[in-house]
């Protein structure tokens, strides 16, 4: 289980960059999109999304494009968008992912599919 969480975490990083490349989104939107589009596989622990967003922001891969006050007191929506550096990072991750997926399939294919 520990192992699975670690594994998912690495994947979510790339998925978040991919989602933000499509359009700027705020936290809840990203969590919902991840959950819906992965058929629930990337559903758990929505809170872990924020440490990830903040660390991507600190590294200059994403930035807050705009903030708006959500309905209700003291609620803020920060729409994150990809920076050029983030775009490059995503491209690199996708290449890596394709290689890994291909390698895994080549070895496992047929036996565990």
């Amino acid at each position: 289980m520990e192992n699975r969480a670690q594994f998912l975490k690495g994947c979510v990083r790339t998925l978040v960059l991919e989602l933000l490349q499509e359009r700027p989104m705020y936290g809840y939107e990203i969590a919902s999109a991840l959950k819906a589009r992965s058929e629930g596989i990337f559903a758990l622990g929505q809170g872990t999304l924020y440490p990830l967003l903040y660390s991507l922001e600190e590294k200059g891969l994403i930035r807050v494009e705009r903030e708006e006050d959500a309905p209700g007191a003291g609620r803020r929506r920060c729409y994150y968008t990809l920076t050029p550096a983030g775009g490059a990072e995503l491209e690199e991750n996708l290449v890596t992912w394709r290689e890994i997926a291909r390698g895994m399939n080549l070895v496992l294919g047929g036996h565990h599919a």
Partner: protein, 191 residues
């Protein structure tokens, strides 16, 4: 009323321990998300406790998330914040170190007279190196006078035997200063 969401937020942010500006932004951003989650539960008439459990399940353990946010916000900021909390201890340690340094190695003095002008005029501040052991004619030294006061003087001659110094002060007769009375040599001054 302090509801489930606020309670959860407080817990997360206590673990995150962010700088004030960051804390506000993170709180409002997380609040938006948590309210979004809680709304559905409230519509189904969930009790406060049920909402709490739901938040833990959907969002995560406050401790894990708070700590992860602290890490993500950069080590430097966390470091500064920690230092701020430690400031009183840091100051006390620095104070003690400076005191020890003053007692053993180097000391700051201010010239109260023109006794060793022009080398060190009145009002000049200087550093006295207390570990100095060899003196030469021409050195400016600090020593304790017979009355127990700290004085400055220019070395005239050094006694090879007991190491006592013959020092000169403007307008006073030359005096012999025993080695034990010498505090140290002036190594720098603001002249």
């Amino acid at each position: 009323m302090h509801d489930a969401v606020e309670q959860y937020l407080d817990e997360v942010l206590a673990y995150a321990s962010l700088a004030r500006g960051d804390e506000r932004r993170v709180r409002e951003e997380l609040r938006d998300h948590l309210e979004e989650l809680a709304t559905t539960a409230r519509e189904n008439n969930a009790t406060q406790e049920e909402v709490c459990t739901m938040l833990q399940n959907e969002f995560g353990k406050p401790e894990a998330i708070g700590n992860a946010i602290a890490r993500a916000k950069g080590r430097f900021r966390t470091y500064l914040k920690k230092q701020k909390r430690r400031l009183p201890i840091t100051l006390a340690v620095v104070f003690i170190l400076v005191l020890l340094l003053e007692l053993t190695v180097i000391r700051v003095f201010r010239a109260a007279t023109d006794a060793v002008a022009p080398n060190i005029p009145l009002g000049s501040r200087m550093l006295v190196y207390k570990l100095a052991s060899a003196f030469r004619p021409g050195d400016v030294v600090a020593f304790r006078s017979a009355e127990g006061k700290t004085r400055l003087g220019v070395v005239q001659t050094v006694d090879d035997g007991d190491g006592s110094l013959k020092v000169m002060r403007n307008g006073e007769p030359e005096q012999i200063v025993g080695r034990g009375k010498v505090i140290g040599r002036v190594v720098a001054n603001t002249r």
